[in-house]
């Protein structure tokens, strides 16, 4: 199957009118399986897999040609051929489809529930929404056999104030034999809330899927709406959006660098990085009116223009970071006890990273150069010069260094955006769809690529919207990263991944 390109395969389906900017085609089960085989072959990357009543959707990307597309398989009988059977990255997405929509992946290697823990009032909330049958049987964790193995259940409630998730370790003394994650504790029913929502409310909802990536989510949603309605966004808005995205990246990377070091009990880095992150947040509040930049990006543009003295505030921020960040990098580089913890810890095989299409810092620290700002790319990054740092070591140290390099790139980007910020309106009127239309967008957040797919009704309300967090393809790799490590190194690996619970559990 690898011989044919993604485009050829998609041309075998029936195109759907009104889906932009990539094509969406209705495929037959045979073509669906061919797609699964292509994904398993490694030529294409799985971008997303989601469902709605009677239909399963699959988004794929072909890195060599840049082809993107969505394939939809009608499932009148409530089942579809499992993609996860051939391509493991799809397994959790399929289990989520089975829980949310009720479509069963046939021949799936793992038929356990995923998001539904038996505590929802309704089963299949996005499908038939039947009243829940109540408690599910106890969740069977994957078996581990062998002498002198013991299990360590960790979470969902942790000793620190972090999001909930359960980790089941099987260890031989300190050495981890297997880690299995159980997520879904922060399921909020976002997709159900989005169904039927007006655009304004939907934009706010999507912007709150994962609070630390609010800009990335809002941007992906806005771009999907604009693609669906064929709205032209003013140039000025594009540049402001990039400014917002880089500020978010900067704040989160700075926080992460400090937090990873703190998990090795090196609180000095956390203390200093937290101060720098706070500077970014304050500058964000001064320029955009919100520390975390929530609701700044709206479909059609951005909510408000920069106040008069913002350029000065932001330039001062960049100057301060350029002055105060390098000594911290030096401190990290020169602290042998810290390097001893990070170098070689939490190694993920690059082959696995490519297979899972794992993006963001984890992907780029493991040799996968994918950056949604370049491919598929969106304005104004096509007019901006910036580097995409890539490392090959794929350990905790590489993930810290990648963040350090990206902080430097973001600083450069902010400077260049400020230099060339065009003038003009910041918001354009959205076109009224007039008829049902669909849009999709892929945006690079600090954590990785955020995908938003949506269908709008003729009156402009949301019929179905699926935001896919980058963490879907990163959480499984954490299970692989901890192999051959010791139990006590898990927090370090986990923090270097910094996956979103909220974005994943929806």
């Amino acid at each position: 199957m690898n011989a044919s390109s993604l485009r050829t395969v998609l041309e075998g389906g029936r195109p759907v009118a009104g889906h932009r900017p990539w094509p969406r085609v209705i495929v037959t089960p045979e073509l669906w399986i061919a797609l699964s085989e292509g994904l398993a072959g490694g030529a294409w990357t799985l971008l997303g897999l989601w469902g709605e009543s009677g239909m399963a959707h699959l988004a794929a990307h072909e890195p060599s040609t840049g082809t993107l597309g969505v394939a939809s398989l009608p499932c009148p009988d409530g089942w579809f051929p499992s993609v996860g059977r051939l391509h493991p990255p799809a397994q959790r997405l399929e289990r989520a489809i089975a829980d949310l929509v009720g479509l069963q992946p046939v021949d799936a290697p793992d038929s356990r529930p995923w998001l539904d823990h038996g505590r929802w009032p309704v089963s299949h909330p996005l499908g038939l929404a039947t009243p829940s049958i109540g408690a599910l049987p106890p969740y069977p964790f994957l078996p581990v056999e062998g002498e002198s193995l013991h299990q360590i259940p960790v979470g969902p409630v942790h000793a620190g104030i972090i999001e909930p998730g359960h980790f089941r370790f099987t260890a031989n003394g300190e050495a981890v034999v297997r880690l299995e994650e159980r997520l879904g504790y922060v399921h909020k029913g976002i997709e159900s809330l989005l169904t039927g929502a007006a655009l304004e409310r939907a934009a706010r909802l999507v912007g709150r899927v994962s609070g630390d990536s609010t800009v990335a989510y809002a941007l992906a949603f806005a771009r999907a709406v604009e693609a669906a309605t064929e709205t032209i966004v003013p140039d000025h808005a594009h540049w402001l959006r990039a400014l917002l995205a880089e500020l978010e990246r900067l704040a989160n990377h700075l926080g992460d660098i400090g937090a990873i070091c703190n998990d090795a009990a090196f609180a000095l880095m956390l203390a200093h990085c937290a101060v720098l992150r706070e500077r970014v947040l304050r500058a964000s509040a001064a320029c955009f009116g919100h520390r975390l930049l929530m609701d700044c990006i709206v479909p059609g543009g951005v909510a408000a223009d920069l106040p008069a003295d913002s350029a000065k505030v932001l330039r001062a921020l960049v100057a301060e970071l350029r002055r105060r960040f390098p000594p911290l990098v030096e401190l990290y580089d020169n602290t042998a006890s810290l390097q001893d913890r990070t170098v070689g810890t939490g190694f993920v095989r690059p082959a696995l990273i490519r297979q899972f299409g794992c993006g963001g810092t984890i992907g780029r620290a493991g040799g996968r150069a994918f950056d949604a700002r370049r491919q598929p790319g969106y304005p104004p990054y096509d007019q901006l010069e910036f580097a995409t740092p890539v490392l090959d070591e794929s350990d905790v140290n590489a993930r810290i260094w990648l963040r350090i390099h990206e902080v430097e790139q973001s600083l450069t980007l902010i400077e260049r955006i400020l230099e060339r910020l065009p003038s003009g309106p910041v918001r354009g009127a959205l076109n009224r769809p007039g008829q049902p239309c669909e849009g999709v967008a892929l945006v690079e957040g600090f954590r990785g690529d955020v995908l938003v797919w949506l269908r709008l009704a003729a009156d402009g309300t949301v019929v179905r919207c699926h935001p896919r967090d980058p963490s879907w393809f990163q959480w499984p790799l954490l299970e692989a990263a901890i192999e051959n490590n010791i139990v006590a190194d898990f927090p370090l690996c986990n923090k270097s991944f910094n996956c979103s619970y909220s974005g994943h559990d929806l």
Partner: protein, 318 residues
């Protein structure tokens, strides 16, 4: 009359240890916060925490046995006695004949033994992890401590601390390589025993990396207060021990009168403050080591202690 006064001083010494222990812990925390450019809590915060814990209800796991309830009292008693034995501001107190280094090591070992049992008792995985790690650390730290004791006793001819302190003040000691090695070994053991960075992190919230905290995760209320106070006492004990053996300057001898005692207390407090500052500085400048590196760290301490003792057999002047 003199005897009563001596016993009074001895009583003061025991109470002083109990009252000072939380302050030292708070002091180290303040220094650490300042080094991180944080304002940090008041040095009196550990007292407030202890009072808060004492007032709180004790929540016991269903699987907890009598051992779990008794252990905090045993641990606290052993640590308090051990800490009170160390000469602080005055030597030659009525109980000082019991202030034997080997007795102190044994008391510390007893406290640790019960803490590890309590960690295992509830049957949670974290308690088990903590206990197993603690035992690994202890099995390396105790021999290192004993080697340090042997070095000292070879030199001073006794393991009784007041006499050791007096001996250290005499001119015949001089600068000795073996003492330097013993000092280093004791510092390393003290860091490991007190669950400080780089061996353990007393401030962590990460269950999987804990050693000491993992064992006491299930404790609450007055039990936790006793264990926390015990941990503070242990830190005070080690810093006092370092002060008593390697910096016995200013220490009064019993019966010298109030002025000498006051000078002794002043010198003792200065030593504690300095020790706490050094600890905070060291902890801030280093990351926690991998669990399996602790054996190398403590192995080095053992080797240093051993080397110190061996040197004394080779040459009387080293």
């Amino acid at each position: 009359m003199a005897l009563i006064a001596d016993y009074l001083v001895q009583g003061c010494q025991m109470l002083l240890m109990l009252l000072l222990a939380p302050l030292l812990t708070g002091w180290v925390r303040v220094f650490k916060a300042r080094l991180l450019r944080r304002r940090g809590p008041s040095p009196l915060q550990p007292y407030r925490d202890l009072f808060k814990l004492l007032r709180k209800e004790v929540v016991l796991a269903d699987s907890a046995s009598w051992l779990f309830r008794v252990a905090p009292y045993l641990i606290f008693a052993a640590l308090w006695v051990a800490a009170a034995l160390v000469p602080t501001f005055a030597g030659g107190l009525p109980f000082s004949w019991t202030a034997d280094l080997i007795a102190i090591v044994a008391l510390l070992g007893t406290a640790r033994f019960f803490l590890a049992l309590a960690g295992l008792d509830v049957g949670t995985s974290f308690g088990g992890i903590g206990s197993s790690r603690e035992m690994m650390i202890a099995s390396l730290a105790e021999p290192a401590m004993l080697m340090m004791v042997f070095t000292l006793s070879l030199l001073a001819g006794t393991t009784e601390l007041s006499s050791v302190a007096r001996f250290m003040l005499t001119a015949e000691v001089g600068l000795r390589v073996s003492l330097g090695l013993a000092l280093l070994a004791l510092v390393m053991v003290a860091i490991a025993e007190n669950a400080r960075i780089p061996v353990d992190n007393p401030a962590t919230h990460l269950e999987l990396t804990m050693v000491h905290e993992a064992m006491v995760l299930e404790y609450s209320g007055r039990h936790l207060a006793l264990i926390e106070l015990g941990a503070s006492l242990k830190l005070l004990l080690y810093i006092s021990l370092l002060g008593c053996i390697f910096a016995p300057w200013g220490m009064a001898v019993v019966g010298e009168g109030l002025t000498a005692y006051l000078i002794g207390v002043g010198a003792y407090l200065a030593k504690l403050a300095f020790g706490g500052f050094l600890l905070a500085l060291f902890e801030t400048s280093i990351a926690k080591m991998r669990v399996f590196r602790v054996d190398q760290f403590l192995g080095a301490a053992l080797m240093l202690g051993l080397l110190g003792a061996l040197l004394l057999f080779v040459s009387r002047s080293l």
